[in-house]
Amino acid sequence: MDLLLEGFQTALTPENLLYAVIGVLLGTAVGVLPGIGPAMTVALLLPITYNVEPSSALIMFAGIYYGGMYGGSTTSILLNTPGESSSVITAIEGNKMAKAGRAAQALATAAIGSFVAGTIGTVLLVLLAPTVADVVVQLGAPSYFAIMLLALLAVTTVLGSSKLRGFIALFLGLAIGLVGTVTGQSRLTFGSPLLADGIDIVVVAVAIFAVGEALWVAAHLRRRPLEIIPVGQPWMSKADWGRSWKPWLRGTAYGFPFGALPAGGAEVPTFLSYLTEKRLSKKPEEFGHGAIEGVAGPEAANNASAAGTLVPLLAIGLPTTATAAVILLAMQSYGIQPGPQLFDNEPELVWGLLASLFVANLLLLVINLPMAPLWAKLLQIPRPYLYAGILFFASLGAYSVNFQAFDLALLLAFGLLGLAMRRFGIPVLPLIIGVILGPRVEAQLTEALAISQGDVSTLWSEPVAVVVYVVIVMIALLLVVAKVRNRAVAQREDVDMGVDA
C-alpha cells in the first residue's frame, strides 16, 4: 500500500500528469480514428523513448492503451464498423441503440462501464502482479521455456479462425527473430553488416502494424462516405443505470482473467459477456434491437482485459496482446527487462505506472463523457491525409532508429509483407510475438541445458514446467478434436449438397 502511495507521488508530478493526459487524449483519438489502433500508435511513438524518462513514457503508453479501448467503442456505436477487434461485439447492440436514437445512452454506459471495469481491473492488477512476480522469480529456465512455448502456442491457436494461418505468422516471426549474430555466428545476415545486429523489432512492428495497414486500406479505400450517427451529450436515465451496473461487474469478471492468461485478448471475454447478458436479461427480446446490457457488459470486459494483460507483461515479461508487445519493446529500449525482478529493481517505475493507470481511467471518464460529440468529428478527417500521415510517421519512426535508408527499405519490405498478410487473412499478433519471444525461447533453452550439462530431462524437472506441458498437450488435443468434428460436419454438408445436385 505504501508502495502504491509512493507510486501516486510519481504519477502525479506535473510532468507525468501531462504525459498521462497526452496519452489518454492520443489513445482516445486513435481509438476513434479508423485504420489506426493503440498498438500502432505506441509503435509510432517509440522514438520518444530516446529522450523521455522511462516512467513518463510508460505512463503515456499505458494511457494510450486504456484510451484506445474507450475510443474503440465510440466508432462501434456511431459507425457500426468496429476499429478494434475488441469492440466487435459492442457494435452489435451499440449501433442498434444509436439508430434508435439512444446513442447518448450507449456511449454513456460504455464510458462509465469502462471506468468501473478499468478501476476494478487495475485494483486486481495491483494486488496480483507482485504476488505472481514473487512466485515467478523462483522459477528456473526450464519453467520459463515451457511458459514461453505455451504463450506462443496460445497466441497462435486460440485467436483467429484459421490455425494454419496462425502458425504461418508465428514461423515467419520466428524466422525474422533468427537474423543476427546472437549465438556467436551470423545467421541469415547474407554477409551484410547492416543485418549483423539483427532486424530492429521497432522497424518490424511499425511496418507490420502501420505500413501494412495503410497499404491494405489504400487498396480498398471506401469511396462512399460512412454514415455517422449524430450524437449529443452522453447521459443515462435511472432505468439505464439499473440495467447497466450488473453487466459491468459481470463483464469485468470475464475480462480480467482472460486478459491475464497467456492467450490474452479481449475477443473471447467480450463474446462470453454478450452471451451471458443475453441469457440473463429480463428483456431478451430487446437483444438484436439495441439492448443496453449488450453494450455495458462487453465494454466492461474489454477494459478489464486490458488491465489483465498487464499482469503477465509486468510479472513474467510475457506480452499477450499487440499493444502489450509494443510496450515491452519500449521497456527493452530503456534496458528494462519486464519480469519478476522488475518489482525489486524498478519499484518507482512500476508503482508509478500502476498508480498512473488509476489516473488515466479517471481522466478518460472526464474527457469522454462531455467530449463524445467532439471525438465523433474526428471521423470526418480526409482519408488521404490520415493515411499519408500514418506513412509519414511510420517512416520517421523507422528512420530515427539508426538514420539509415536501409531501415526504410526494410520498412517497405515488411510493410508489403503486412499487406500480404491482411490480404491472406494471416493474423499479425503471432508474428510480432514470434519475433520477440523466439530469441528468448532459444536463450532459455540454452540456459536450462547449460546448467544441466546437456541433460534433456531437466526440461521437465520443475513442477511448473510439467503443469504447463500438460496444458499445452490439452490445448493440442482440443484442437485435434475440434478439427475432427469440423471435418465430420463438413462431410455431412457435402453429402447434403450431393443430394441437391
Binding site: 479508423p34 485504420g35 522514438p47 520518444i48 530516446y50 529522450n51 523521455v52 464498423t81 468496429p82 476499429g83 479462425s161 494454419l164 502458425f167 504461418i168 514461423f171 520466428l174 524466422a175 533468427l178 555466428q185 545467421r187 541469415l188 495497414e213 495503410a214 491494405w216 486500406v217 489504400a218 487498396a219 480498398h220 479505400l221 471506401r222 469511396r223 488521404p384 493515411y387 499519408a388 500521415g389 506513412l391 509519414f392 520517421l396 528512420y399 530515427s400 538514420f403 535508408a405 526504410l408 527499405a409 499487406l419 500480404a420 491482411r422 490480404r423 487473412g425 494471416i426 523466439g438 532459444e442 533453452l445 540454452t446 541445458l449 547449460a450 546437456g454 457435402d494 447434403d496 449438397m497
Partner: protein, 173 residues
C-alpha cells in the same frame, strides 16, 4: 432436410484462391533459405548445448511444412478471410494501382533521404502519398507535408535532442 434447398451458390470446393499458391511458394522459399543458411553454420563450442543451427533447422522445416499444408488447403478450396476495417470496403475489387503508387513514393524516399535529408523527402513522402490516395489539392498537400517534415525535424532536434541528418540542407536548417 435439403429437399427444398435451392441455394444458387456453387459448391464451396470449386473456389480456389490461386494467389495463395504464391504465398505458399514464398513460405517455401523463406523456409529453404533458412535451412540452407543453417547448413553453412559451423558447429559451436563443444559445451554449447544448443547449437546455432538448431533453431534455424526447426524454423525452416516448419516453414517448409506450412508451405505444403497451405498449398494442399488451397487446392481443397480454403479461402482466406481478408481483414476488415472502418475504411476498408471489401465489396469492390482491390485497387493495386494505388498500392503501386504508394510503393513508388516510398522507394523515392528510400533513394533520396540520405542525399536530400528528411526535411525534404518527408514532405515529398506526405504530399506524394496524399496524391496517390486521391487528394487533388496540390498546394495544400505540399504545404502540410513541408510543415510536418520541418516540425518533426525541429521537434527531434529541440525536443528530443536528436539531430536527424539534414542532407543538402545541412547548415540551412
Amino acid at each position: 432436410m435439403s429437399a427444398t434447398h435451392t441455394d444458387p451458390v456453387p459448391t464451396r470446393r470449386r473456389v480456389v484462391d490461386s494467389a495463395q499458391y504464391g504465398l505458399a511458394a514464398f513460405l517455401a522459399v523463406v523456409g529453404a533459405v533458412v535451412v540452407w543458411d543453417a547448413t553453412t553454420l559451423e558447429k559451436g563450442f563443444a559445451d554449447q548445448p544448443v547449437q546455432p543451427y538448431a533453431m534455424p533447422y526447426v524454423v525452416g522445416a516448419g516453414l517448409l511444412l506450412l508451405a505444403v499444408l497451405l498449398a494442399v488447403a488451397t487446392a481443397c478450396g480454403d479461402v482466406p478471410e481478408a481483414e476488415e476495417g472502418e475504411d476498408v470496403d471489401l465489396s469492390g475489387g482491390s485497387d493495386w494501382v494505388t498500392v503501386a503508387k504508394l510503393t513508388a513514393v516510398f522507394v523515392l524516399n528510400v533513394a533520396l533521404v540520405e542525399w536530400l535529408g528528411w526535411a525534404i523527402t518527408g514532405a515529398i513522402l506526405f504530399a506524394g502519398s496524399a496524391w496517390a490516395l486521391g487528394s487533388r489539392s496540390w498546394v495544400r498537400d505540399v504545404a502540410i507535408g513541408v510543415a510536418l517534415s520541418l516540425l518533426t525535424w525541429y521537434g527531434f532536434y529541440v525536443g528530443l535532442g536528436i539531430p536527424i541528418p539534414a542532407g543538402v540542407l545541412d547548415g540551412v536548417l
